[in-house]
Symmetry: none
Subunit: 350 residues, 2 copies
Amino acid sequence: MQQGRTGPLRPTLEAVAELAGVSRATVSRVVNGGVGVRASLRERVQHAVEELGYVPNQAARTLVTRRNDAVAVVIAEPESRVFSDPFFAQQLRGISKELSSADSQLVLLLVEDTGDYQRVGRYLAGGHVDGALIFSLHQDDPLPAMARKVGMVTVFGGRPGWVGAESDHDLVYVDTDNRGGARLAVEHLVSLGRKRIATITGPLDQTSGVDRLDGYRDVLPYGDPALVAEGDFTQEGGGRAMAELLARRPDLDAVFAASDLMASAALRVLREHGRRVPEDVAVVGFDDQESVAAWTDPPLTTVRQDIEDMGRLMARLLLRRLAQEGSEVARPGSPTSVITPVRLVVRASA
Amino acid sequence: MQQGRTGPLRPTLEAVAELAGVSRATVSRVVNGGVGVRASLRERVQHAVEELGYVPNQAARTLVTRRNDAVAVVIAEPESRVFSDPFFAQQLRGISKELSSADSQLVLLLVEDTGDYQRVGRYLAGGHVDGALIFSLHQDDPLPAMARKVGMVTVFGGRPGWVGAESDHDLVYVDTDNRGGARLAVEHLVSLGRKRIATITGPLDQTSGVDRLDGYRDVLPYGDPALVAEGDFTQEGGGRAMAELLARRPDLDAVFAASDLMASAALRVLREHGRRVPEDVAVVGFDDQESVAAWTDPPLTTVRQDIEDMGRLMARLLLRRLAQEGSEVARPGSPTSVITPVRLVVRASA
């Protein structure tokens, strides 16, 4: 179990015990200072430690639990996006509060583009942090493999997209009920009597984008594909997608945008095209971002997820994993992934 | 060895030398400035560098001692402020670009409040970063002393406020011409014939706040103290100060706000009090923040400082200090502090 969690490259306490021909408890005592262990046994353990390249810090954690009192946060987006999308600020706020109250330092590793990931991997491997929170993963993102390779205890924000992620119990993530939320949004539009409901999706190389599109399709399984346009969670992408949809289907009477930023851009484009919201076109967003949804004109009907709370939860799960990592005995109640609930907030746009 | 440290994906100095058909020493000389290398050789090396996508800083590393290839950024403000004031995003953008192109990791250490500084000090002392950029210092801030105590090479954003800072040649900072900029703003208001010119200051425990107030007083040495209200660079503080000024001197006909965020709040409060801008009250800001100044109603006349460039400059000075730190011989041209110029951008508000 320890094996699985820390990656195959890391020798375990058990392996050291086996090679030295002693009990796990003896190894543990030796790497924690060797008090009360006969010199000959101590030497045998030390040889085995060296031979296997066992990293004693893992053991140190058994007593101290956390070595650096620091946690890395890696957002798989360019720095400019991290600072322009209030989603990340809100999630970081939750993480910062939680880590701060545990006296653990939040170390935000910023990148310009994917070319910088090698460097981030080196930093994670360098022993500067105890664990990592990684979010906004895209398909084929090398970050999770890097974190696993260096044995980094990790909690993900958003369900990782690789095959088997959902059934991997060693994988811990916090996600929102993306699919259920999208269903709520589209069902609301249907209940208003809208007939030609379009959607602006998130990036389809992210599970949040795919899941929200799945929710839309759950409600409208036979919808016209021309009513689906791919966005990227940014205002620019949302505005572009809205213009595309209007060109393809000028008769559309509703839009579900998979984020509030994209919805706010859609409102602007609709206004530029002389459409009244909600009279001509009803609009629903996703996020209920405090700095966006209530301030658009008209204020946005949207799917609320508690973003700050998701940040807190990620941090809390990671701190618990780190505490368990240090314990010798398996404990009941290992942290598992959490899907947080959503609800529809009805304002004026739909 | 270089190989091991940088990973197999990175082209090496050797590869460049081989492709260019020159020695390693020649490549090294070219990527470090090219002094004393024939133009034809220089060109061959440069072609090889481009073809292989060689990053010259790798070479600098062979000469220079930097262990972590990571730089800490500490902003002496709560995390919530860091993410709500676009000033910090812009400065971080410049820093991020510069560090990224030098393949150094930007490590942003976030804090909730001053109670977290001890922990930041521990992290800086822990050998996790090569140097630090510290900005938005307040008076009596313990961060500089902490950084000094652990021997951290540091560049400051904004002139530190303690006595002797200006003449301390070991102290390197990047600042904007705060006092000169404030003079430009107030002189502009005087040139428009305004007689009762108020100011909303920045926090007076920061040199940027004090210097901008000094610039205002340079132009209006005998001004009414009732025309001065202290703000804190935030919208809330700016709005509060504007309301105070209107209560004290309802006859005021101009306001110099020491930041664009405060100026935008002042515009809102003036509108709420039935004052037309600029007819009744002319308003000038400070920053020319891209996401603020051009988007207010009316667009803001303001003092432009190049915030992103200041970030770049801070990072560049730090990298140069780190390079010198590693060299055996003292070099001429040690980095010294830089004051960046400002200019007035006239839009509609004054």
